[in-house]
Subunit: 428 residues, 2 copies
């Protein structure tokens, strides 16, 4: 049995305490699976006096994470502070420079500075592991970096923000408007301090940018993600989509096309009976498509103490075993700077219009769509009393440009009472 | 960049040729991801003259796999011959003794001789990798061995034989009896030469035994699997189960209980809207439950050239990178000999009876169940003309012993026209 692996853990929130508990409760299992004991040397957190659900008396308490990161008596710096700058970034950089490997759950840090950190790690002969940064307990980083290494990856998709999926699922099941469920989620403590990280799609986009890099061998590029949050998803659209056999999900999609790398995070329609469509509440799902493997679907809890701590532990055990992977699956110098392409892959679209009760109104709408080269797959006009008539259209596959053009032209017909709603129907 | 990794591939069927193609088509990608070129030195197969869908002219042809396994110019012996004995076993043993690592897709070999092979590999400082042996392209071996290393695994379940799932799915969708769909599957080439390997549940049980070993740290034990194939699943039961909201799947379940290790492979009912219930055709699914991670679901193609070759390549890249795992996730000497427990974990059960049209018949059935301590959750009696009345019963949770007792007692009532059908409803 080799020498013990010594950890320094910075950040003792839910995940940090989860990691401490696993190490305390499963010491034998971990040493059997790692080939060496896994121990905690020192810990650091903002408030030493806070009551925490674990006995920390055996560990050195260090006030400053930066000091923890550079201690001689740790082998791995476990960064669970969070945030893309400040002490998280500073401590990770210093840990690498001080000859420590880094395990982190920090998606923002990797999405914003992943390329520099990967290069810094390599310069110093260290590695950074981050299974917990994407989709909680689901082993998607390992699956993509290692299990699919023989594949040319063609597309990666995922529902990777449990809070958004909770809100959308709950809106449908309770028939409540967005604002009401958002408030519920806030009271349940499901939202980040800055809720736009969740509902604005930022958090999920951080994760998508990380997956893109591994999938396509490109430098991680959060700026290249076209982002739209779930704020404008209405209970009307959720109901109408359900009528047509769809569910609305905040879906991230990345694919490499002839024009460049498309990365988008947006509310999309998916078939209600597809694995993505069936996803309820806080559960996450990642779908990876490769030229050999076909489609692989990974599903599990995307957040929470246990699942996230499980992912952190998988990284720790990997390093304990001496497994050392390049940060994004290939040497940092080989990762290409991506050309960002605005979404151009054709798809079917869902359109919801509020049609004024005028003769020939529907003909005018159909003409605009036809002129834009869009053909209609299914159409429904609903009962209406006095007000404008809700009209739903599912198009055949068309380009985002054609849809944008039609959306711009529709109000000029004079038969539309509100701005049309358009949502992409992602093929899954 | 390190020295090339040199492979010797024995067996050039679908999977072997799939591996050759990936190595030829993705050479750059593989060397970027492995840190070294991946090359094929020599190959072996039964018939040199057979027309194969790949150019093999650059490789040394070796008639005897055993000779291939011991050549000085290979680092890894890739065994894709199959079978739990004979040349597959002999060549793998000799490869290990000759200082080669082994990559194999051979579930029968590992299920029957896994413990000896793991010990032999360790004695010789070599490793055996076998991602392709279980659930094709789904990275379940890596997920369980590495990603869930911080978890105490509580249960593993899976639909792991695509042919059986094809037959059951097709029976339901086409309304055809078992025999007709079995014949279709045979003509489509979906069945093994010995079809009982598929429909008798043997192949899926090999896979379950392998997963059990990794999950529970026990010596792989195929003999400990209670096996029942799909031969007695009738279209009647598929229809009736669907009426009650269930689908019938050939489901493998392994769990460690206070009494010992339960491993069973049998047709079970699962909720039609669960991930397992939704699985169509040849797709496989593995569900792993751990104390920290909760439930992880992995889904993908369970067989076929691309998916299986993808899994073989993941093992090859892992070894190219210098990653060396104990065969079943822990040193062989630490794996405990399992105590086999007959299934005792309680479950709900589905019972189908053919009730004779006699006064008090149902009361007699209810009395037998009540006396066995079984309470009824749902009951349906169907229309019948002349013949006995089909009666469906879904019980509350009860023990397999209680069900066995009731099944033995029911014919004694004199009101049952045929032997009752009982199927376990697995909680998923």
């Amino acid at each position: 049995m080799s020498a013990p692996l010594r950890l320094g853990i910075a950040g003792l929130g839910t995940v940090g305490i989860g990691v401490v508990k696993i190490i305390q409760q499963h010491a034998d299992l971990l040493s059997a699976r790692s080939g060496r004991p896994v121990t905690i040397t020192a810990v650091s957190a903002r408030d030493r006096m806070k009551n925490r659900d674990a006995d920390l008396s055996g560990y050195t308490w260090v006030e400053d994470p930066v000091e923890l990161a550079t201690r001689d008596d740790i082998d791995i710096y476990v960064e669970l502070i969070g945030g893309d700058n400040g002490v998280a970034r500073e401590s990770v950089e210093l840990a690498l420079k001080s000859g420590k490997d880094v395990v982190t759950a920090n998606k923002a840090l990797l999405a914003m500075h992943g390329q520099e950190l990967a290069a810094l790690a390599e310069e110093n002969g260290q590695v950074i592991r981050f299974e917990a940064a994407v989709a909680g307990g689901i082993p998607v980083i390992k699956a993509m970096t290692e299990s699919l290494a023989g594949n040319h990856i063609t597309r990666v998709m995922g529902v990777m923000n449990g809070t958004c999926n909770y809100i959308l699922t709950r809106m449908e099941s309770a028939g409540l408007p967005y604002e009401a469920v958002f408030e519920e989620a806030r009271q349940l403590g499901y939202l980040e301090a800055d809720p736009t990280l969740d509902v604005g799609g930022i958090d999920a986009s951080h994760k998508l940018a990380i997956l893109s890099s591994i999938a396509f061998g490109t430098q991680v590029s959060f700026d290249g993600v076209e982002i739209e949050g779930i704020e404008r998803v209405s209970i009307d659209d959720i109901r109408r989509a359900a009528d047509m056999g769809y569910r609305i999900k905040l879906l991230g999609v990345a694919q490499m096309t002839g024009r460049g790398l498309e990365q988008r995070m947006s509310p999309c329609l998916v078939p209600a009976d597809s694995p993505l469509g069936q996803l309820q509440g806080g559960t996450n799902m990642v779908v990876v498509e490769g030229d050999s493997v076909g489609q692989i679907v990974l599903r599990g809890a995307g957040a929470g103490e246990g699942p996230t701590a499980s992912a952190v532990m998988s990284d720790i055990v990997e390093l304990a075993r001496g497994v050392r992977m390049p940060v994004f699956g290939q040497p940092a110098g080989r990762l290409k700077k991506p050309v960002h392409a605005r979404t151009a892959v054709p798809a079917a679209y869902y359109l919801r219009l509020a049609l004024l009760d005028k003769p020939g109104a529907l003909a005018k709408v159909a003409t605009v769509l036809g002129d834009a080269g869009i053909s209609i797959h299914r159409m429904r006009q609903y009962d209406h009393q006095d007000g404008p008539a809700p009209v739903l259209i599912v198009t055949h596959k068309t380009t985002p440009d054609a849809i944008d053009h039609a959306i711009a032209e529709l109000p000029k017909t004079g038969v539309i009472a509100e701005d049309p709603v358009e949502l992409r129907i992602e093929e899954v």
